[in-house]
Symmetry: C3
């Protein structure tokens, strides 16, 4: 039973709760000039995200962002922008005060400071925002339970004048996350699932056929899961595509957005494919002699991404994708990138991959 199935019974309750909550959510103040980055006179895009509770796992709270309460997921929705976009995101906090208190008082990850307020927030990397969209206690830009707040992100463009780069822009692979749950740094928020990818493209960038997110987190997890939960169901089809089922057809252009979070350092490795250690994962020109890599150190809040052509030169099959810290991969920080033949067949799919149980690793 996957996460969405497990959630099914909750859907009516959540929707009812949402309607109830909406009735009580105080009217937000309107955005003022000080809420907008300098060049963003007015947001050209708007969206709403909900911070919600998912069912607990192993007794621990699971929180997530979603475009609707019942589609919230870990990681949250991947937000794609183009340099020049100014995006207003209204975040509705439906997480209960009790769960927020539990995370604040967590003996391992919480501040245990009774004076710390309870709420969630939205903090983003890479793009531009004023103090009122910082998502921190220090800037008072957080959201109490049953309230909402609008954050504005500006994907400032690269500016070139007289052949010189005046401003380097914001195109890249970034992430957003809570910054106030558990501690002043959102330690409990991200650890519970409140994060997602942001991808900012520059005009003229190649666009991929598929985009997947790989968040390398605490306790040897990918997207807070360990193998086999990181991987597709048995005999996967292309319709199973998700951030827990990386599938593609040979020849498709596939993008991976990689995020580190928590306390641990990881190394991201993909079998059979490599990429350039640049903004896009591709060499920008014939003169670009950036290093090619197939393995990359990812520290907490480091983000990068790349596009590859699925199965280029190497053909179809199930290609391992794992953290290369041995203790982490041995504990299950592993999944597969399943490349189907052009005819849509996954070789050996009738004998789905099983990894051997590991008893020895702590």
């Amino acid at each position: 039973m996957n996460a969405r199935d497990r959630l099914a019974w909750l859907r009516p309750l959540l929707l009812a709760g949402l309607v109830a909550a909406a009735a009580f959510i105080p009217a937000q103040r309107a955005l003022t000039r000080g809420d907008l980055p300098t060049t963003c006179v007015e947001p050209n895009r708007h969206m709403t995200m909900y911070a919600v509770e998912l069912p607990r796992e192993d007794g621990k709270p699971r929180l997530a962002y979603g475009l609707t309460p019942d589609t919230a997921s870990i990681p949250g929705p991947t937000i794609k922008m183009i340099e020049g976009d100014c995006l207003a995101i209204t975040v509705v906090n439906t997480v209960s005060r009790d769960v927020l208190r539990e995370l604040r008082d967590d003996p391992l990850l919480g501040s245990r400071d009774p004076d710390m307020p309870l709420g969630v927030s939205l903090h983003v990397h890479g793009v531009k925002y004023t103090q009122s969209s910082d998502g921190t206690f220090a800037t008072n830009s957080w959201i109490p339970p049953d309230e909402s707040r609008t954050y504005v992100w500006f994907a400032a463009p690269k500016i070139v004048a007289a052949g010189r780069v005046i401003s380097q822009g914001t195109a890249g692979y970034w992430w957003y996350h809570d910054h106030v749950v558990g501690t002043d740094h959102g330690t409990g928020g991200a650890a519970s699932g409140l994060f997602g990818a942001v991808i900012v493209r520059r005009a003229g960038d190649v666009t991929p056929d598929r985009t997947y997110v790989v968040a390398m987190g605490p306790d040897a997890t990918l997207n807070l899961k360990r193998f086999p939960e990181t991987d597709c169901p048995a005999e996967p089809s292309l319709e199973d595509a998700s951030n827990s089922c990386y599938v593609a057809v040979q020849g498709e252009r596939v993008e991976f957005a990689v995020i580190g979070f928590g306390d641990d350092f990881h190394t991201f490795h993909l079998h059979g494919h490599n990429w350039a250690d640049t903004r896009t994962g591709m060499l920008a020109s014939q003169l670009d002699d950036s290093r090619l890599v197939d393995n990359k150190t990812v520290g907490p809040a480091d983000t990068f991404g790349f596009q590859i052509v699925a199965g280029e030169e190497v053909g179809p099959g199930s290609w391992m994708l794992h953290c290369h810290v041995q203790a982490h991969s041995d504990r299950g920080m592993v999944t597969f990138f399943h490349v189907f033949t052009p005819a849509g067949i996954l070789l050996n799919s009738s004998a789905p991959v099983e990894l051997h149980e590991h008893f020895g690793r702590p």
Copy 2:
């Protein structure tokens, strides 16, 4: 009471000690050709640095380099060079044999090898030096107590011939540190404060309005401090600028030089600002498609730097600067970059930021 204030009463003693020490410091041998990098026929710059004891903190010795004994600081003076500079630095060791022995015999950080000599040294990264300026026991280029030694650093220039780069030069963000206190690798020296930044520019490089150093060290510290000691006094003014008080006026060009040291890996994150992962933090040309980052892994002795325009697009305010390893930020490996309005006002400065106490993190 800041470090300088706490030192005030020591000043007369230190000066007296210095005069006394100077009287006993043996005459140094003159530099010979073998002490000079190949292209440095004669140093064009000279300076003197003192290795001194500061008052203990939490019972632990604090050592520092200074241009004078009473201005020694952690980090030490930032040394700026231009490619082509050849700099002779005479280091005077005023640190007592007792403290050096204590650090050598430290059960956690010391070698505890009674045959290890006692002294300090100066070792540098990135620029060129011969074996006699290596600052190690192996090359016998260290300084016993009450003695001095002259080290020569050459900022070798980039050399291009017929369109090809023949020698890549030494421009970059580097650091200097002791290499003999406590162990053969200076583990006790750096941990006690004997380090500083070196910034080498290339002719034509943009110069910043302000330069700050952020050394990410052991025990979740920035410049060996934890919040709030990492930050300005309440109601900071631009006059408080220091490596424990990062201030700027919106629109100023501000440079951060980041240093890792000790045993731990960190990730450097600055809110609201980003930079290119290049030599200068800026894109070198329109063809340069290096990754933009606002978060970067920093291992021990890794160094990097960048320039940003304070508050560009994001406006004034107090922007968090922290290690993004959650356990580190939660322990206080945090400070703020305070961007004043063009009128010189720090918004909310009457309500200085307080972070919540964290009881739960080890």
Copy 3:
């Protein structure tokens, strides 16, 4: 007594064993089209490698790859390719079932899963290979004891069309390693010595005079050794050159290939020399403003390499090469790069470097 000397008495036994083993090795199936990367119609190079047991160290098994059974070494042979090469490597597994079982059942590094098969494999980074050359259990591309298997690696070339980079190629510094000993990720294989460097050059690349490999591994080791085993014998000569004796003549072009493996993160530092953080360690053009470094974070399976001119600007002498994680260098994760004068003399070689014993570090 170095490793080769210690092995001398084993040689006749090993050769006898090899002859015996060869007699029993089942005939391999022929390569089919599905075993070859798309553009490799037929391998243009062939080699044989043996996976062998070396004498135990500290009671622990030591395994190694070799071009012959009696020349197997840690790291294994450095495999150099040029973009366009398609290399078929037949690996003969001479490692006993008993040792493989011991590593599988190791309480710290093994899976302890009795259902896990026993064998070795060859997995490579950076170059192209089909599923049948993946070297994993999941793809069934491993080698039981006394059997052999042919792996095919294709150094796919960079392809440029109409000024755009269509495919970025595979030139770079990579490594190969076992992926099935101990756990599904080869944790016990690499930890025992089953790894080596792969260097892929692009047509037109500068070639070095000497190539050395530095593998930064578990337990504060370089190539699974600690100082002084990492370094040359006393009074080294140029004939002692090996991966445990880095020597060069001033002015020679020397290449270091650096590999991380195991669980730990390291920082590679070389005294007196620096390089560019690019594919080759050199700046590709006048426009290339990549960062210069002399210290670099290396996570598990991260690889990089660079070329330097030995003693450029800094002259001859013994230059420290060490992990800059202080706890690691203090434990002996150190060696020296010995640069001889053009006359072939190593200064101070009559007084070989000794580092002080460190008692205090765990």
